[in-house]
Symmetry: C2
Subunit: 207 residues, 2 copies
């Protein structure tokens, strides 16, 4: 099974002593897996006479889940790049006061980008969670459990990305930046963690 | 990035209208991702003078996480095979009473195997969650957030696999089989879902 082989290569890379890809990339991958499962539910619903009444709505969910899947797939790469930029800033020379100031500013800039990358991942995972509820309600009931697994994967992505936002915010000295994005994160996290739990419990109750 | 490309192929397959791989495979993949992140934390801890005091214990965690990673990777394939066996049983002829009896027995057999496959996945994910706690406590604090993401991925794998156990138990007429494995599942689910939440909250509190 070639797909299994290629996934194994990703897991090997994740497991290695290279610090990237790490949790940030894994969070984006979990979110992408959730989006893919929403798409699967939709693809097994649209075009079937039995579900003609919800055809348009499910088609719209599919359209959104496919866009989120591409976005989260790209976030895996962006997370690695943001991490590498932070590491590169730390490696800048720091022999003179001027060099120190330049290096410090570069670290702060890179840390901001590294905090915003997982925040984008968290937001995209929240949007996936939002899609799992109508997918579970309107989708083909034969794949109801897949809609539940979609919510769980996107939830792991949301909370995993949140941990990565927090670790990066911890490096940032600009207090107004930290306060603003911490508040954004708290809001997304509270709302969509609860919604994912709701979708999971509802699906579980119907099996 | 070749790994990203190959992951994209897995997500494409998941998103398609092929019913397998589906949520069962995604749950095993989430668990494998959790195991890989535990290994990453250990690999960035062992061999460093600073962590010499916990070298042996972390080495043991790594040994276990790598075994679980291989097991969960294999479960992705076994889940597809178990699903295909159920579908094949449903396609058996049912023209005569004899054929009907043979087909019905074959479906029951295949459903039992299909229920036990995600139960194995759930158990392996529970073992990964168990490793995330000492990994977060003893591992290199620079990768503390990765131990947290490991717990979240394994939690999604545990609960996602549970949904797949439940959907398959629903097909099984042997009541003692259903009662036994439902009880096993409930026990694992209650204990390790709570432990994963604990690890996540503890990691989040330290960031």
């Amino acid at each position: 099974m070639p797909t299994n082989q290629s996934l194994r290569a990703f897991f090997d890379e994740l497991a290695s002593d290279a610090p990237a890809p790490g949790g940030g990339g894994a969070a984006a991958a979990a979110g992408a897996m959730g989006a893919a499962l929403v798409s699967m539910v939709c693809n097994l619903t649209v075009g079937k006479e039995k579900f003609a009444a919800v055809e348009d709505q499910v088609g719209e969910i599919l359209n959104k889940s496919e866009k989120l899947r591409i976005k989260l797939n790209n976030m895996m790469q962006e997370d690695v790049e943001a991490f590498n930029a932070v590491m590169a800033a730390y490696r800048l020379p720091k022999a003179t006061p001027d060099e120190k100031a330049i290096r410090s500013a570069a670290i702060q800039n890179a840390a901001k980008i590294a905090a915003l990358a997982p925040l984008t991942t968290a937001q995209a995972c929240a949007e996936v969670i939002e899609l799992t509820q109508p997918a579970a309600e309107m989708g083909n009931p034969n794949v109801l459990s897949d809609a539940g697994v979609a919510a769980l994967c996107a939830q792991a992505g949301l909370k995993g990305a949140a941990l990565n936002v927090l670790i990066n915010l911890g490096m940032i000295k600009d207090e107004s930046f930290v306060t603003k994005y911490q508040a954004d994160l708290d809001q997304i996290l509270a709302k969509y963690d609860a919604l994912a739990n709701e979708v999971y419990q509802s699906v579980k109750g119907k099996l």
